[in-house]
Symmetry: C2
Subunit: 340 residues, 2 copies
Amino acid sequence: MKRKVTLKQIAKELDVSISTVSKSLRNSPEISEDTRQKVQAFAKLYNYRPNNIALSLKNKKTKTIGIIIPEIVHHFFATVISGIEQVANENGYNVIVCLSDESFDKEVINMEMLANGSIDGFIMSLSKETQLKKDFHHIEEVINQGMPVVMFDRVTNEVLCDKVIIDDQLAAYEAVDFFIKNNFKKIGLVTTVDYVSVGKLRTDGYINALKDHDRTADDAMIVKIEDIENCASKIEKLLQEQKPDAIFAVNELFAVTTIKLANKMGLKVPEDLSVIGFTDGIISQFSTPSISTISQNGIKMGGRAAQMLIERLEMEEENELYRTELIETHLVERESTPTL
Amino acid sequence: MKRKVTLKQIAKELDVSISTVSKSLRNSPEISEDTRQKVQAFAKLYNYRPNNIALSLKNKKTKTIGIIIPEIVHHFFATVISGIEQVANENGYNVIVCLSDESFDKEVINMEMLANGSIDGFIMSLSKETQLKKDFHHIEEVINQGMPVVMFDRVTNEVLCDKVIIDDQLAAYEAVDFFIKNNFKKIGLVTTVDYVSVGKLRTDGYINALKDHDRTADDAMIVKIEDIENCASKIEKLLQEQKPDAIFAVNELFAVTTIKLANKMGLKVPEDLSVIGFTDGIISQFSTPSISTISQNGIKMGGRAAQMLIERLEMEEENELYRTELIETHLVERESTPTL
DNA sequence: CTGAAAGCGCTTACAG
DNA sequence: CTGAAAGCGCTTACAG
């Protein structure tokens, strides 16, 4: 076992000072060609690499980004991480990932843990519980300490910081508009409870689309789901009692569940019922029928979030001007909507 | 903006030494009740938190685990991370995630980056390219420097370290055995190229199961896929020319693709063709028909890997005795196999 | 051209 | 009971 070698050890072996070794390795012109070469050769031989932790302490920069997301076993969040990773790596940053499990307390604990010097800035998406409580002290505090935060997807207006989102309302509007333009009469909505920010926005988009076409949104056509585990009965009821000819679902899981339930009831998709989901994930692609959906490019979102954070980290002066970037979406037509 | 406060600042404010502050906060009995209280009150007021980086440098422990995986946009790996996270957090560790993107070079770079003091140990699964090249120097080196490594899923015998895997061969054997016992005659295999370790083992399991029942594995019944993008034609050919009544696929994607192709050819699953996949992921659960599969509990795998790593990190003396743990698997019967 | 000193933020053995 | 010193591994302004 050969432990990692330090400047100190090299200095001792070569009988020079630590400063000399350090400068030699950084190619300082202060040092004579001769010793520089000697030191570099030795360092190479022993495979010297500077200790990241020491550098972090010295520079007061860790070159690592903290990511806090509700869940990782969720295709969308996984793609976002992937996007962040890529841009981070290109810029010499690493990422440290913490999961809140949709819990406010875990979100707080994780943020505090990382905020104590482990990272340079955060990229995060709020947990459901945080959105419900509307308590953002932990985030405000971190920002107040001068640590930049970029929020994505599940964001809040109550915190001033950079954000990257899609236009959830518009995207939902377009999905419903598609149904209306194609002569669907009874358009149902399967959405989340209102405190989930993106769910609420998509619900608003649905309602607005109907309004703009002189239809009123009928509460009976709207199912709001709190807990994915127990969504079946509510959706079934909607299908049975209202007999919609189209359903807009605010995520993949709701969409695929709707299709499965429809199948069980003897309804064919898309012949008897058309379905549009949200988030172009693995389920939409591979289920049968494949599901038409609003694309939500997680890779791009993550990439933009990382760029925004890194820009802010490497900015000369502080800048109180925060941006909110929109990632464009579009409707991906697949088998769950008819080809017209 | 109130920057994070340090011991030094507290010491100055309170007109005591840094040592006194440090000891007070750690409740050292060396310090008088009086000053201890004073210091603690002040620290609380200013929300003092020790700097992780400074602690890491001092203790030569970062309390963070490095994870290197081929991809994160892959349900199985996401569940493993989730499992690691949980156990890590319970033990006061954070995780830093790097993706190799199936590339040898990225795997090497990421490992070197993290090995320079950023983490205490690795949990990793080999990239395809690494498995193809069979070059494990980067891993050997890290281990030689005294940094423990735990490999999971895609492992190699050529590196001595702790490992956590499933019995891929046995699991595949059981899937094929299920087919044989239920009187399927023409059992096809959709697998990866041989250099992917888990693919090869599953292929072996398939072959052994047939042999043990006095059947010979017919090469024409086996499709080995290099690149998921171009697998369709090969699978189609198998279905058309060999007319199998059952297919064992070594992952979800192969399984769902097989089913979709079969559907396109007018074959019904499970009536005309039974399919068993591998990895109990989101696709198997939500596709129509839902897919029978060998479960592969990623949460548990990740959890065990984290436990093994943490145990080794917190062990008193070095221990050259490495363990390989098996996570049990079982066949999850769903709609893609007939209920008998 | 080389090296001693100070410092990043902390801990702890030791002196007073 | 308190504090100065040394040290984790590094960098850099400064002295010689």
